[in-house]
Symmetry: C2
């Protein structure tokens, strides 16, 4: 899921990872989890989303559970049974959260790009300058 990092003239890449945590530190929502949520929204299924995310269903399920526990509200509307076995969709609260996160992520990307450009410039300078 990690997007290709940015390269310097010095053959360095900048990588970063962001996540949300709760007050007591007893849980977290990682970028991967948000990606998972986005895929559930798109695919309507935890199973399919987990596959697309290249993580085990077990992990996907656990991540959702811990995120919901941390936030103390429901993220996923789950439907079991039926010929199709079941399906899932995001709650309105989850959609709101996801959209806020995606905006956060986007702003972050832009800022990082800028900061890293400055880094490249600094590294290109000779030490004595």
């Amino acid at each position: 899921m990690d997007k290709p990092p940015k390269q310097t003239k010095h053959e360095l890449f900048l990588n970063y990872k962001i996540w949300l945590s709760g007050l007591t530190g007893n849980g977290k929502i990682s970028d991967t989890t948000f990606e998972l949520l986005g895929l559930i929204k798109k695919l309507g299924s935890i199973k399919l989303a987990a596959q697309a995310c290249e993580i085990s269903y077990r992990k996907a399920w656990g991540d959702i559970e811990s995120a919901e526990k941390m936030l103390s509200y429901q993220l996923i509307e789950k439907q079991r049974g039926g010929k199709e076995g079941g399906h899932s969709q995001l709650t309105p609260a989850c959609i709101k959260l996801l959209e806020a996160y995606e905006a956060l992520q986007q702003k972050f990307d832009d800022s990082v790009e800028k900061a890293f450009n400055d880094f490249e410039i600094a590294m290109a300078k000779k030490p004595e300058e």
Copy 2:
């Protein structure tokens, strides 16, 4: 070493981690490694710096080695022997790198703060707004 993350009115914290990697992905320089380098500069000893960093000497040494291999230049001037056992200091190239990183880190912090403020505002709004 992780600094306290920022809190929303929704009792959420934003956390992040950055690191540099090389072309072939065969190594990385984490924020912890940069913290270690800063402490070596300050304390003049890998051993003391590792203690201050709360990592094992073994890991500190391995991190430095892999960073130097990745960059293919020397970061640390090491001195063995003597009554004091030895000491270490940063090379000029390392100091330059460290300073560039610290500036990058600072800009990162600012970006995070700004992006997270917007996130808070978005989360404070009612879904229908």
